[in-house]
Symmetry: C2
Subunit: 240 residues, 2 copies
């Protein structure tokens, strides 16, 4: 079917170009939701409702980019019939795309909670829990996106493993906020808004961990989902 | 490459068999997480901790089936290079599989909350909110899985559209529980456990809605994610 080597190279050059576009777009998606998360956290901590509104407005950009990437993946699968590592790349990007879109959703939720908290005009809290947890989760997401950009399975594994320390931070923050509710029942509504934001952060941490798993699959062809940390080490230690 | 029509038919017969296995497995996955949700709700309403434990134990079955289906999808894409509606089927199943696995996770969360509530031995609540919301969400998930089984885009669209009534039920239940926290601050911990279960139900409703969107894509090749309900109607009214 292919007339000449030149034609074949041309086809393969186009294919490479499509894969590069796809990689570029998924990293752009990562950058976009990372910016959404950071702006949402700033809106909360600075009590800046303009920033909160900016996040909710930009959510449609996240959604549009999700659809664009998904269409690119479907088109590549239909036309290029990729195999081996190219196929793994496309499959991993389909999943990473879903996780990133949901990170965007959670960032928008944090922005909505920030708006409610700002409007309720309660001046007491300094959001100590949310600041700490927010910083930790933003770092985790950044590490997952770096691992993706560099196709670094070891760095991705660190993200997957790191999740338990985030879980502890989350549990501690939640206990503190629940204790606050009991001692200040008149503040229950505002504290609940903080709890919703905290839960959104926890979710983002879960999605970052999922992204780490997808990067490991992409680079090593190993599916490490649902394994205990020791089992992940064991699985990855085997020759591949 | 293919020696004869007979060989070609043989290949295509195997391929059909693989697609049938995939459809069978995704419906089995749906049935499994549906059972997990119902058992989790029963454990809560009947204060039956044995049922709650059963749900958390079976979560690994859900995870294993997720991985199996994912591997089948990757194998079909690598070996069969499906096109058109076959490709859409595989892509839709990859996504439905992710949503179903997360429904399983949320069911396990409900079971864990049930266990905490049972152990805390508070006798007051009859879980009126959780019963009502649980029934609604179980119906929604069932409708999404029926639409998948029958490849019924109209039924899937009903699931996608129905989400706003579930949202209202959720908002009402949440308001009631928050009011309870304010009037009974000594019960805050238990009421929070109910709130976590309620939030898990809301998530399951979101996943059911996502599944409805994937079914519409599978049947009609139309991506209706992130569209307002009127826009979905408009999009689907166009010739396809």
């Amino acid at each position: 079917m292919f007339g000449s080597d030149q034609h074949r190279q041309h086809i393969s050059g186009q294919f490479n170009h499509e894969l590069e576009t796809l990689k570029h777009d998924i990293l752009a998606m990562g950058g976009l939701v990372e910016a959404q998360l950071n702006t949402a956290l700033e809106s909360l901590i600075e009590r800046n409702s303009e920033k909160a509104i900016r996040v909710t407005k930009r959510d449609s950009e996240v959604n549009n980019l999700e659809l664009k990437i998904d269409q690119e993946c479907a088109r590549i699968l239909a036309r290029r019939q990729p195999a081996a590592s190219d196929l793994r790349l496309v499959l991993a990007i389909i999943k990473i795309n879903m996780d990133l879109e949901r990170v965007g959703d959670e960032a928008a939720k944090i922005a909505r909670q920030a708006k409610v908290i700002i409007e309720s005009n309660v001046s007491g809290t300094q959001f100590a829990q949310l600041r700490r947890m927010g910083r930790k989760i933003a770092e985790t997401l950044r590490a997952a996106l770096d691992a993706l950009a560099r196709h670094d399975a070891d760095a991705a594994l660190m993200v997957v493993r790191g999740d338990s320390s985030v879980d502890q931070e989350y549990a501690h923050s939640m206990q503190t906020l629940v204790a606050d509710m009991k001692s200040e029942p008149h503040n229950i509504s505002t504290i609940l808004n903080e709890i919703w934001a905290l839960k959104a952060l926890e979710r983002i941490g879960d999605h970052a961990s999922n992204i780490g798993e997808h990067v490991i699959y992409l680079v090593r062809g190993q599916d490490v989902r649902h394994l205990a940390p020791e089992a992940v080490d064991d699985r990855l230690a085997k020759p591949y």
